[in-house]
C-alpha cells in the first residue's frame, strides 16, 4: 500500500523538481511586485501597490516624460499589426500549399524551414535599409511588417497543417456547389480552421509582443514600446527592482488574457463524420 503510494508520487515529485526553478522565479517576481521594502531581497516587509505607481504617474524618459500607457498602446499596435500580417499571409499561403499543385512547391516548403532557421538579428542591417528605401523605417507598421516576416515561414507550416486536416471531399463538395477557389477558402475553410487562425495569430502576436531587438534598432527613441521602456529602466545607475517587476507583470498580462480568450477557439476542433478522402 505504502509502496504503491510512493510509486504514484514519484512522477509528481519529479515534475515539481523540474518546475521548481521557474516557480521560484515567478514567486519572487510576484513578491517583488507587490512587496515594499524587501528584507534580504526576498521577504517583503509590507504589501502594497506603490510599485505600480507608473499606472497613474508619468515616467521620466531622457529629458522628457512619458507614460506606461503610451508604451503599452504602442506595443499593442505593434503586436496586433504583426499578428494580423502573419495571419493573413499564412492563411493564404497555407491553403495554397495544402491544396494547389504547382512547380517548386516542395522547394518552397523546404525553403520556409531553412528561412526560419536564420536568426532575425543577422537580417537587421538589410531590413534597416529596406525599410529606409520603402519609407517605412521608424514607423510601427513598417517594423511590424519586418517582424512578421520572421514568423511567417513557420506560421505557413502551421496553417498548412490545419488545412491538410480538412478532407478533400469537403473542398470538392464546395466546388460542385458553385464555389470558386477563393470562396472555398473564405466560406468553408476559414470557418473550419478557426483554431488554426487563433494559433497562427497568437504565434505572430506573441513574438512581436516580446520582441526587443527589432523595436530597439528600427524605431526611434521617441517611440516607446514596453520592451524598450523596461530596458530604459534597467539602464539606470540605481535599479528599482520592485518597480521593474510590477511593470514586467503588466507587460505579461495582455498575452495571457489573449491566450485565455483564444484558448476556447484553440480547443474547438471540428469533427468530421465518415471516411475522409485522399
Amino acid at each position: 500500500m505504502v509502496i504503491k503510494r510512493v510509486t504514484k508520487a514519484i512522477p509528481y515529485i519529479l515534475l515539481l523538481l523540474i518546475a521548481a526553478p521557474f516557480l521560484t522565479m515567478y514567486i519572487g517576481f510576484f513578491l517583488r511586485a507587490f512587496g515594499e521594502r524587501m528584507v534580504l531581497g526576498v521577504i517583503p516587509e509590507r504589501w502594497g501597490v506603490n510599485n505600480f505607481r507608473f499606472l497613474w504617474q508619468p515616467i521620466a524618459w531622457g529629458l522628457e516624460k512619458t507614460t506606461m500607457w503610451a508604451a503599452l498602446g504602442n506595443t499593442m499596435l505593434f503586436a496586433t499589426v504583426s499578428g494580423f500580417i502573419v495571419t493573413v499571409i499564412c492563411m493564404l499561403a497555407g491553403y495554397a500549399l495544402s491544396r494547389i499543385e504547382f512547380r517548386g512547391k516542395t522547394f518552397f516548403l523546404v525553403l520556409q524551414l531553412i528561412l526560419h532557421a536564420v536568426p532575425g538579428q543577422i537580417l537587421l542591417i538589410g531590413i534597416f535599409f529596406l525599410l529606409l528605401y520603402i519609407r517605412l523605417l521608424h514607423q510601427i507598421p513598417g517594423v511590424a511588417l519586418a517582424r512578421a516576416a520572421l514568423e511567417i515561414p513557420l506560421g505557413i507550416w502551421m496553417a498548412k497543417g490545419f488545412f491538410d486536416g480538412i478532407p478533400w471531399d469537403v473542398e470538392r463538395a464546395a466546388m460542385i456547389d458553385g464555389c470558386t477557389r477563393f470562396q472555398v477558402w473564405y466560406k468553408i475553410f476559414l470557418p473550419l480552421v478557426k483554431p488554426g487562425i487563433a494559433a497562427v495569430f497568437i504565434w505572430g502576436f506573441l513574438f512581436a509582443w516580446h520582441d526587443f531587438i527589432y523595436v530597439y534598432t528600427l524605431l526611434p527613441g521617441t517611440i516607446k514600446l514596453m520592451a524598450t521602456l523596461i530596458q530604459n529602466l534597467l539602464a539606470t545607475e540605481v535599479v528599482d527592482y520592485g518597480y521593474l517587476a510590477a511593470m514586467s507583470l503588466v507587460y505579461s498580462l495582455p498575452p495571457l488574457i489573449l491566450f485565455i480568450f483564444l484558448q476556447r477557439a484553440l480547443l474547438k476542433v471540428p469533427i468530421f463524420g465518415g471516411k475522409g478522402a485522399v
Binding site: V170, R172, A173, I176, L192, P270, G273, G274, K275, A277
Partner: protein, 359 residues
C-alpha cells in the same frame, strides 16, 4: 442530359488510372461504375465532375465538350462517400449553400430547401449540425444538398458504403425510386456488385482502368464477356475449373482431371467456331448445380445454411466448388456426394485470354 466519354485516359505519372475509356450514358439513365478498389471508377467520376482533366480524350455533356469547364459551371450534384457536409453549418445551411452561392432570394431558398427536405423526410433535423446527425441522416442531407439545385447530372460516389446493412438495403430501393421519379441522369460508383445490379439500368464493369463490359444487369449476369466479369458479378461467385476440350463420337466433351461431360450441341458449335485451342476454363454458377445426383463425385467440405437456401462447399478432386442447395439440406464434412451441372448454363472461357467462348 447525355454524358459521353470519348477514349478518356487519365495518367498519374506512370500509372494509367483510366485507360482509353469510352462510355455513353443516356438521358435519364442510371449508370453504375462497378469494379474493385483501384480500378479507376472514382477517377472516372472525378473526371466527369471536372476535378481531374483527362490526359487524353474528351468528355461531352450532350454535344458540348466540357474538358475545360470547371466543376462549379457543370450543374452537377454529387454525393460523396464521406458525405462531405460542412461541419460548421446546420443541415438547413448545408442544403441552402449552393442556392446562396447563386444569390437566390431568401424566401425562394427557404421554399426549395423545405421541398427537398420533405422529399427526403428530413424536415425534423434541419436545425442540427452534421456532428449531431446519424450516418443515415447525414447521407440524406448530402443527397438533399446535391438535389436542391436541380442538377442535370447526379454523381454518387459509394454513397451507401458507410451505412449499416439494413439501412443500405432500404436506401438502395429509395435511391432507385428517387432517380426514376426525378429523371436525373445518374452515375453511381460502387465496388458492391449487388448495389450495382439492383439499382442501375446499366452497369459498366472496370478493372485496372479499363472498361471490361457494359450492359444491363441481366446481360452481365447471363453473358459475361470474360473471366473477370463472370467472377465479379453474382454471389456467391461463379465456380471456375480448368479443363480441356475433346472430340469424341462427333460431340465435344469437357474433360477435367476428375470428370468428363458432353457439351450440348448448341454450345459445342459455338465453341468450335471460336477456338481451336484445347485449354479452357469452365464457369458454372453455384445456383446452376444440383446436389445429390449426377456423375460428378465430390466430398462435402462445409455446409452453410443461409435461411432461404443453403451454401454447400464441395471438394471435387482438390478443387472447391460452391453449390446452392435447397433450404434444409444437411450433410457432414467428408460425406461423399454427387453433383450435376446444368450443362446449358455452363460458361467456357479461353484459358489464355480469359475471353468468353460463347459470345
Amino acid at each position: 442530359m447525355r454524358v459521353f466519354l470519348d477514349r478518356v485516359s487519365k495518367h498519374f505519372g506512370p500509372v494509367k488510372a483510366v485507360d482509353e475509356l469510352s462510355l455513353e450514358i443516356g438521358d435519364k439513365e442510371f449508370m453504375a461504375l462497378l469494379g474493385p478498389s483501384g480500378c479507376g471508377k472514382t477517377t472516372t467520376l472525378l473526371i466527369v465532375a471536372g476535378f481531374y482533366k483527362p490526359t487524353t480524350g474528351l468528355v461531352l455533356f450532350d454535344d458540348r465538350v466540357v474538358n475545360d469547364v470547371p466543376p462549379r459551371e457543370r450543374n452537377i450534384g454529387m454525393v460523396f462517400q464521406s458525405y462531405a457536409l460542412y461541419p460548421h453549418m446546420t443541415a438547413f445551411d448545408n442544403i441552402a449553400f449552393p442556392l446562396r452561392l447563386r444569390k437566390m432570394k431568401k424566401q425562394k431558398i427557404k421554399e426549395k430547401v423545405k421541398a427537398v427536405a420533405s422529399l427526403l423526410h428530413i424536415e425534423e433535423i434541419l436545425h442540427r449540425r452534421p456532428g449531431e446527425l446519424s450516418g443515415g441522416q447525414q447521407q440524406r442531407v448530402a443527397l438533399a444538398r446535391a438535389l436542391v439545385k436541380e442538377p442535370s447530372l447526379l454523381l454518387l460516389d459509394e454513397p451507401l458504403s458507410n451505412l449499416d446493412a439494413k439501412l443500405r438495403i432500404m436506401m438502395r430501393a429509395e435511391l432507385k425510386r428517387l432517380q426514376k421519379d426525378l429523371g436525373i441522369t445518374t452515375i453511381f460508383v460502387t465496388h458492391d456488385q449487388i448495389e450495382a445490379m439492383t439499382m442501375a439500368d446499366r452497369v459498366a464493369v472496370l478493372e485496372s482502368g479499363r472498361l471490361q463490359q457494359v450492359g444491363s444487369p441481366e446481360e452481365l449476369y447471363n453473358m459475361p464477356i470474360n473471366l473477370f466479369v463472370a467472377g465479379f458479378i453474382g454471389t456467391p461467385p461463379m465456380n471456375f475449373l480448368v479443363a480441356t476440350l475433346e472430340e469424341a463420337e462427333g460431340k465435344l466433351f469437357i474433360k477435367t482431371s476428375h470428370f468428363s461431360l458432353p457439351l450440348p450441341n448448341a454450345i459445342g458449335q459455338k465453341v468450335r467456331s471460336r477456338t481451336t485451342s484445347k485449354a479452357v476454363i469452365i464457369g458454372i454458377r453455384p445456383e446452376d448445380i444440383t446436389i445429390g445426383q449426377g456423375e460428378i463425385q465430390g466430398e462435402i467440405y462445409i455446409v452453410e445454411p443461409l435461411g432461404r437456401d443453403t451454401l454447400v462447399t464441395v471438394d471435387v478432386g482438390g478443387e472447391t466448388i460452391k453449390v446452392i442447395a435447397p433450404a434444409g439440406f444437411k450433410a457432414d464434412p467428408h460425406e461423399r456426394i454427387r453433383l450435376a451441372f446444368s450443362l446449358e448454363k455452363i460458361y467456357l472461357f479461353d484459358k489464355e485470354t480469359g475471353k468468353s467462348l460463347l459470345i
